[in-house]
């Protein structure tokens, strides 16, 4: 295994030389130093194994077995506007950004004139302009915890940057569409996203990760989110990678006083998908909501790993993750809540519920509460069950066939999570996708 891992490391290190050549002069930039230092971290950090506590339910060997060519070094993939329209939310005139294998495609994207100082742009563009905004914030929040995070930073050339100035409310959701995969080769895709909401501002985002090739690829992404004082951010992530592919994302959120951050992770695809979602509640009266709905069918594996760090008093965090497991799908949830000594009057809730639709499907769940303050309310719970037979009989007794009755109960199960998504078109689309992915009749 170690031998094999060395080969994997060598592959990405060697590719870096070619990658640097393609940077067109940017190899001398300030940010490139960050990349290079990340590369050396990548070379030194061991890959997690099943013995690594945070990875004990997720076997990453299949990801290391293959060599993925960093997208920058690979042949470009042509994507048509018609294809993009499949993923675009209806009713969204603007704004949406399209990335093909992590690289921004201006012609496929649609950005309205930036008003009121709002910035919605690609990281690539902003780095070319040596944007101070980006340089001051990027790679400052998300620490490198494992070789995957390091690999992302080393190859970070593009991604989404959203900046909302003080007191600005962005009414329409901003959609970001990542179209991933190449029919020519196995690609490594490394989007690096940065979201900054200044004091009192509000923004809603939809991030779609969509597979467009069934040749295996590896999306390895990092998203950093700054939620300033009283800012409100809703980040909806829809992961619908190809079933032969791999997806790892680390999302790191920073929250100040009175801010409100909501993350919804809807996970449909990928052979192995791992989401790390971490919030630092570094303020009072903060609200932090995590919702998740994950589907693992066939032989797919979906892992959600959350960490909510209550550092100051009077804040609330609320986590609800629901898994639908079919065939020999495997769902993992591991949620850590840390309440620091100073964080009195913290309310922290966590719940993980799974429904098993087949005898071979399985779940692992691991709550971790570390509480150092005495005046707190914390609760966590996990349930694993099947579709309710009594309810199924009741539905069937109204003339509804058993398959449709099952689908109704699946909708009912998913509803707890989906009802928190405040964009109706998105909610509808997600409900539809559930049944498409599960190959079951839609309600």
């Amino acid at each position: 295994m170690e031998e094999k891992n060395m080969k994997t490391k060598k592959w990405y290190s060697q590719n870096f030389i070619e990658f640097e050549k393609k940077l067109n002069g940017q190899a001398g930039s300030e940010f490139h130093k960050v990349r290079k230092s990340a590369l050396s971290e990548f070379e030194n950090l061991p890959f997690p194994t099943l013995k690594t506590e945070d990875w004990k339910y997720t076997n990453i060997k299949p990801i290391l077995k293959q060599n993925f060519t960093p997208a920058q070094n690979a042949a470009p993939v042509k994507v048509t506007k018609e294809l993009v329209s499949n993923y675009k939310m209806d009713g969204f005139l603007c704004d949406y950004l399209v990335f093909v294998n992590g690289i921004y495609d201006k012609d496929l994207s649609c950005l309205s004139e930036a008003a009121k100082g709002i910035i919605v742009d690609s990281l690539g563009n902003l780095l070319k302009k040596n944007s101070d905004l980006v340089l001051n914030k990027i790679a400052k929040l998300a620490e490198i915890e494992n070789p995957f995070n390091a690999l992302n930073t080393a190859y970070a050339v593009d991604g989404t940057v959203v900046y909302v100035p003080k007191n600005v409310v962005v009414e329409k959701p901003i959609q970001v569409i990542f179209l991933n995969g190449s029919d020519d080769e196995n690609v490594l895709i490394t989007p690096r996203n940065l979201i900054i909401a200044e004091e009192n501002s509000q923004v809603k985002l939809i991030f779609n990760y969509e597979g467009i090739s069934s040749k295996p690829y590896f999306t390895n992404t990092v998203t950093e989110v700054y939620t300033s004082k009283n800012a409100v951010i809703e980040l909806n992530k829809i992961q619908n990678e190809d079933n032969n592919s791999f997806h790892i994302e680390k999302t790191q959120i920073y929250q100040e006083d009175g801010s409100n951050f909501t993350h919804s992770s809807i996970s449909f695809g990928g052979l192995i998908a791992r989401n790390d979602i971490n919030s630092m509640l570094d303020g009072e009266n903060v609200e932090c909501n995590y919702y998740g709905l994950y589907l693992a069918n066939e032989s797919r594996h979906v892992d959600h790993h959350t960490f909510v760090d209550h550092a100051k008093p009077n804040s609330v965090s609320n986590e609800l993750y629901k898994g639908i497991l079919d065939d020999s799908g495997h769902g993992v949830f591991s949620g850590k809540i840390l309440v620091r000594q100073n964080a009195q009057k913290t309310n922290a809730y966590q719940s993980n519920k799974s429904v098993l639709l087949s005898p071979e499907s399985q779940v692992d769940t691991k709550p971790q509460l570390e509480i150092y303050a005495d005046d707190v309310k914390c609760s966590h719970g996990a349930t694993v069950g099947h579709l309710d037979d009594e309810a199924k009989y009741y539905i069937r007794s109204r003339g509804i066939p058993v398959e449709l009755a099952n689908s109704m109960l699946i909708t009912a199960f998913a509803n707890d999570v989906l009802e928190n998504i405040k964009i109706p078109e998105l909610r509808e689309k997600l409900n539809h996708m559930i049944f498409e992915k599960l190959h079951r009749v839609e309600v």
Binding site: A391, Y393, G399, V402, A412, N415
Partner: protein, 252 residues
């Protein structure tokens, strides 16, 4: 309409129905009474196709077909309806979606066109106002957070929307206040015509003042031990069941 012959059913190895015979013709209203635990709900659920019960003997013919051979959904689509003693809550599915799906499945089964949204809306408005139900209930999840009485009313709303051939009402009167009882009974009477039939399970004569039965049966320990006309219900109200229990002993 339905002929039940020598029906035996058990749950967890315990025999609940022990040779039950009953015939209901179209146009008739039958009432089943009997002490707690005698098997009334079991009968209703065996007919509706609850798979928890195992049928060990007997046959049921419904409109010329072998009822026991059918899946619950097919029984419903063939025209059988059970108003549950304890209706189930389905959080996350609105009454709207639930009923529309049920109606369309019924229509599909009979080779008919799907109901249009407009038709559906008109139908549900008409039926729910008949039952004095708040129209906001229909956007709420099926039975979720409904009061006991609201649940029972909702069962009758479903009955009126689906318009079956045979309605089994399992203690629909329990949990209803006096006014609601009248309204619900009125709904059932509106449903009733010479081509369909109703079987009501109840403990109280009161309901039968409103839904007047042609026949009253006493179910005891899994068998019908006495049948009569509506006066039998009055007699039971007065005397209870003790005087009949000897009959049971004789039958056994």
């Amino acid at each position: 309409m339905i002929t039940i012959k020598n029906l035996h059913a058990e749950i967890e190895g315990k025999e609940i129905l022990r040779g039950l015979n009953l015939e209901i013709n179209k146009g008739e209203i039958h009432a089943i009474m009997g002490p707690n635990g005698s098997g009334k709900s079991t009968l209703a659920n065996v007919l509706a196709g609850n798979e928890n019960f195992e049928i060990t003997k007997g046959e049921v013919n419904f409109e010329g077909k072998d009822l026991l051979d059918m899946a619950p959904e097919d029984r419903a689509r063939e025209g059988l309806f059970l108003a549950f003693q304890y209706p189930i809550e389905i959080p996350g599915i609105s009454n709207n979606v639930f009923l529309k799906t049920a109606i369309n499945e019924l229509r599909k089964y009979h080779g008919q066109e799907e109901i249009t949204p407009k038709e559906f809306l008109e139908l549900i408005k008409e039926k729910s106002s008949l039952l004095g139900m708040d129209s906001s209930l229909i956007n709420r999840s099926v039975n979720q957070g409904f009061s006991g009485g609201e649940k029972k009313r909702n069962e009758i709303l479903q009955l009126l929307m689906l318009n079956p051939k045979l309605a089994l009402l399992d203690e629909t009167d329990s949990g209803l206040d006096i006014d609601a009882l009248k309204i619900v009974a009125e709904g059932v009477n509106r449903f009733k015509n010479e081509n369909n039939a109703v079987l009501v399970v109840t403990h109280y004569q009161r309901l039968l003042d409103y839904i007047v039965p042609d026949f009253v049966h006493v179910l005891y320990k899994g068998r019908i031990i006495k049948s009569g006309d509506k006066n039998l219900a009055l007699e039971l109200e007065e005397k209870g069941y003790d005087w009949l229990k000897e009959t049971e002993a004789e039958l056994a």
